[in-house]
Symmetry: C2
Subunit: 99 residues, 2 copies
Amino acid sequence: MKIVTDHLHKAFESRIRLGIMSVLAVNDMLDFNTLKDYLDVTDGNLASHLKALEKEAFIDVKKSFIGRKPNTKYFMTELGKKAFTDHLKALEKLIKSQQ
Amino acid sequence: MKIVTDHLHKAFESRIRLGIMSVLAVNDMLDFNTLKDYLDVTDGNLASHLKALEKEAFIDVKKSFIGRKPNTKYFMTELGKKAFTDHLKALEKLIKSQQ
């Protein structure tokens, strides 16, 4: 007797990680500060959640320079897109089971 | 610039807590073992998540006896129903923002 939370991915349990994925799903690439603005979190908090998603290979970084200043941009990987879509589908199913 | 994860409740971040609420939303009262069957979790894990939801006053317990055996049943409070509904609405909004 199992229920519909089965296909929810543990990596997306955190609201912040859910937020990062949502924002990266609709923006191709974002730097740290823009993500921070979107999500209204502290540097340390955002950094740790980004690292967790990077570790799952759900997001990746692209490092470059703007003038002499290093610039790191985050983007969603294909694996991340797939996992996030599956997660949203599972959430949708859970919501429908409640209606 | 804030996004749609704003109204997600921290108490429901865990899949197990989401599962408990989902199951209690469609079953008036359930005992520990039935919940455990539904959610496929260990005793300790379930107990700690139940305690967390009880602390938020989102669920409550009713203690009785079946013969001489104590029987504890869990149910969702009005506050819990409201919070869970709001959480599902916020999730629905997040999903729609991605479609």
